[in-house]
């Protein structure tokens, strides 16, 4: 039972990270019909930006500001940095290819992903960066918590999961309740028709990249608060995030959240009860099962083609 609770908390943490990454994929795919392979690496850059800010502010053992402020600043900086990076990627790697055959921006995205990963490798090396668990001298967040049975759930985990959900709700409100959100939905429905209705498509696309990348930045910090971050995490995290988006139904925002959580649970329970080594296999099986039996995903609509 104790293991189960621990695994569930871990699953929720991991799942909300995946969900945040999946949202970035889903948003961009919805608007551009483009698989943004570089998204996983944006996520990785976010975790490094967070680490840089953490160091600037004195690190976790001797922070210059209260730990609450520190966490907020680190997350905001990562979100802002990633948003800028996302805009740059869109402007220089994807926009020139908007009218090219579908395969062209995909290959360009592969190039961006490879470029980002190796640039980070060049500048910062392959060594893992540890955010520390806030346990050493400033144990407020880690030692405090509440008990479920005999298991202590650290406050840091609660904060991570809580803020991920807050971000998702904010995003949902933004897309469904604001004018900009309406423009995004219109663009995603039919780009040409939206342009004819006077929607500035370029602005919508840039805004989508800002949103998606900022979420990836936040996810990067949350991920790095759990385990040390390194350059190579981008590839696998991107893959998992995309899988989550596909499982949930690509283009659907609640779908991305559900898919992310599902993936988090699948991975966490497999690692806990079966073996840490084979969780990729389980995730892949889920992906293939969805591809075969329900290609539109949990929340997606079946694609009806008019010829």
């Amino acid at each position: 039972m104790d293991t189960f609770i621990q695994l569930t908390v871990d699953a929720l943490t991991l799942g909300s990270v995946y969900a945040l990454i999946a949202l970035g994929y889903t948003l961009v795919y919805g608007v551009l019909k483009l698989l943004n392979f570089a998204h996983g690496d944006v996520f990785m850059v976010g975790s490094f930006i967070g680490f840089g800010v953490l160091q600037l502010l004195g690190g976790t053992s001797n922070p210059a500001v209260p730990v609450w402020v520190l966490l907020t600043l680190v997350t905001l900086a990562a979100m802002a940095g990633c948003a800028g990076l996302g805009v740059a990627i869109e402007r220089f790697a994807y926009r020139p290819l908007r009218d090219a055959p579908r395969i062209a921006p995909l290959i360009s995205a592969l190039g961006v992903s490879f470029f980002l990963a190796n640039s980070m490798q060049l500048l910062f090396g392959a060594a893992p960066r540890n955010y520390d668990t806030f346990a050493l001298s400033n144990g407020a967040l880690y030692l405090k918590g509440f008990d479920v049975g005999d298991v202590r759930v650290p406050l840091l985990r609660v904060i991570t999961i809580g803020s991920a959900f807050v971000l998702m709700i904010l995003l949902w409100l933004l897309v469904n309740r604001t004018r900009t959100g309406k423009a995004m939905r219109a663009t995603s429905f039919d780009r040409e028709a939206a342009a004819m209705m006077g929607i500035d498509i370029d602005r919508v696309i840039v805004f989508t990249f800002v949103l998606g990348s900022a979420l990836a930045g936040a996810a990067g910090v949350m991920f790095a608060l759990r385990v040390p971050t390194q350059v190579s995490i981008g590839f696998v995290a991107g893959l998992k995030g995309f899988t989550a988006a596909v499982i949930g139904g690509i283009g659907s925002i609640p779908g991305a959240m559900a898919g992310g959580l599902l993936l988090g649970f699948a991975e966490s329970y497999t690692q806990g009860y079966v073996s840490t080594k084979w969780s990729d296999l389980v995730v892949f099986s889920i992906l293939v099962a969805f591809m075969i039996f329900r290609p539109q995903g949990l929340f997606g609509r079946a694609d009806i083609r008019k010829v």
Binding site: I103, I107, L122, R305, V307
Partner: protein
């Protein structure tokens, strides 16, 4: 338009396209404007040489490499390049002809290498003769490729990309953890499989080393395999299936309405690509006498993609040329001094291409050189340590008088200068041409500074950064690559 003339006059109806070909597309080449002058004549002559003559010439030239160069290192690079050419030919089937984005391709290369290692090593004590083991491996590869293609039956391009990419990741997981699957050691885990049998042909084991130097027997075997695969694929491309693939690539929906078995064609192209990859895998495993999981990963995937895209996807000669450029380039970039030459030549070529041989080009070059010396002097006058970096011999020595090479690099310098360079380069692409000429000078100097101080320090990351940049730039500037044809759009 005075220096260009139409390629040919309207041909007589008798020379028209064969039945079933769209006339407008078939005559596409005739409408293209040919280059005039001496260059045009040479180009037109070159175009009349048949493809098999080119191939024979090329293979003969490659055969001479070991004769000219006795260094084992160069021979080894030549061998690896032939492997790259084979891999590029295989990927070209799926991407260039089938138009499917297969990101699990190198996993199939790995499947080939591992299958050969399973049936020809001490791992399970099986030692099949080479002439049996290689065909078996190719068939296994083709079947795995078919299975990998199965999800593509219902999937459009993007989904396919992600399933195949996940397959690549899964291949990693399986091979890395395969040393403890159900309590058995199957793949040797991260340590891989050692002591794989060498090829055994005509009653002799092919030796990897001869008198301490890389032996050329494998090189010739690989070259032979390359020639056979090239010719075979040439005929496949001209066959009914080959034409159907191209129809599939251009418009799957139209192909389907014409009664083509679209799903089967997709599976077939996956399978063909996988078979070529598996065949290449046997050569790799036999030469290295070992296989490790990490050989077959994302890095290799991108490398092969760059080769295919750079050469021109869809063109066999193109992808071979791509491999011939990228393979040695990756080796050259390992060495700092050669790497400097690559940088200087690439900058010069880039400038010459964009400004032609004009006065502006001369002005930019002169300004850059002058700017460099000025910065170097100023930096040296402020603090001599700033220019006290290592003075290497050769080009590095001469460059050190021009570019600032500090004796000790502060921790913040690499990230700031690198990010600054990327931002400046991106900015250059969107500013007014006149402003660009002015900004180009400091940007070039910054590039030289970053190359000398940051990128040469880590050749491995640098090589792959270069590949990534090539890939992005190609897709934007010249998606058809060096020898590929631009898509003919009928609207």
């Amino acid at each position: 338009m005075s220096d260009t003339t139409p390629h040919a006059a309207t041909p007589s109806p008798a020379e028209g396209p064969a039945v079933g070909q769209d006339e407008w597309v078939a005559r596409h080449a005739e409408r293209r404007l040919a280059r005039g002058g001496l260059l045009g004549t040479v180009e037109a002559r070159l175009r009349t040489i048949p493809w098999w003559a080119w191939l024979a010439l090329f293979v003969a030239a490659m055969c001479l490499v070991p004769a000219v160069e006795s260094s084992g290192y160069v021979r080894r690079v030549a061998f690896d390049t032939v492997l790259y050419m084979l891999l590029a030919l295989g990927l070209n089937i799926v991407v260039g002809w089938g138009g499917l984005l297969d990101l699990g391709y190198v996993a199939l290369y790995g499947v080939g290498a591992y299958t050969y290692a399973f049936i020809a090593s001490d791992q399970f004590g099986v030692h099949l003769p080479t002439l049996v083991a290689v065909p078996v491996t190719v068939i296994v590869g083709a079947i795995v490729g078919l299975l990998l293609g199965l999800p593509s039956r219902r999937l459009t391009g993007d989904y396919l990309a992600i399933v195949t990419l996940f397959f690549l990741q899964l291949f990693q997981t399986l091979t890395t953890n395969g040393d403890s699957a159900f309590g058995h050691d199957i793949t040797g885990g991260p340590n891989g499989i050692l002591n794989v049998d060498p090829f055994h042909l005509f009653g002799h084991d092919l030796a990897v080393q001869h008198a301490g130097v890389f032996a050329v027997s494998y090189f010739y075997v690989a070259l032979g395999v390359f020639a056979v695969v090239y010719v075979a694929l040439r005929f496949v491309n001209l066959s009914r299936t080959g034409r159907a693939w191209r129809a599939l690539r251009e418009d799957p929906l139209a192909a389907e309405t014409m009664g083509m078995p679209v799903n089967w064609l997709k599976l077939l192209s996956f399978s063909f690509g996988a078979a070529v990859a598996a065949l290449t895998g046997t050569l790799f495993a036999a030469l290295n006498a070992s296989v490790f999981p990490l050989t077959f990963y994302f890095t290799l995937l991108i490398t092969v993609y760059v080769m295919v895209i750079l050469g021109g996807s869809g063109s066999q000669a193109g992808v071979v040329l791509g491999a011939l450029i990228v393979g040695p380039l990756l080796e050259v970039l390992r060495d700092p001094d050669k790497s400097r030459w690559v940088f200087v030549l690439a900058v010069a070529a880039g400038l010459a291409l964009s400004y032609r041989l004009s006065r502006r080009l001369a002005a930019i070059l002169a300004a850059t050189i002058g700017f460099g010396f000025a910065v170097h002097e100023v930096a040296g006058a402020i603090d001599s340590r700033w220019v006290a970096g290592q003075h290497a011999t050769g080009l590095g020595g001469s460059i050190a008088h021009w570019v600032v090479v500090p004796a000790h690099l502060a921790g913040w310098v690499p990230p700031v200068s690198y990010v600054g360079l990327i931002s400046a380069a991106l900015l250059l692409t969107i500013v007014d041409p006149r402003v660009r000429q002015v900004l180009l000078v400091p940007t070039l100097y910054l590039a030289a500074f970053v190359w000398e101080n940051v990128m040469l320090a880590d050749p491995d990351a640098t090589r792959y950064i270069v590949l990534g940049v090539i890939l992005i730039a190609l897709m934007i500037v010249r998606p058809n690559g060096l020898l590929g044809e631009r898509r003919v759009e009928i609207v």
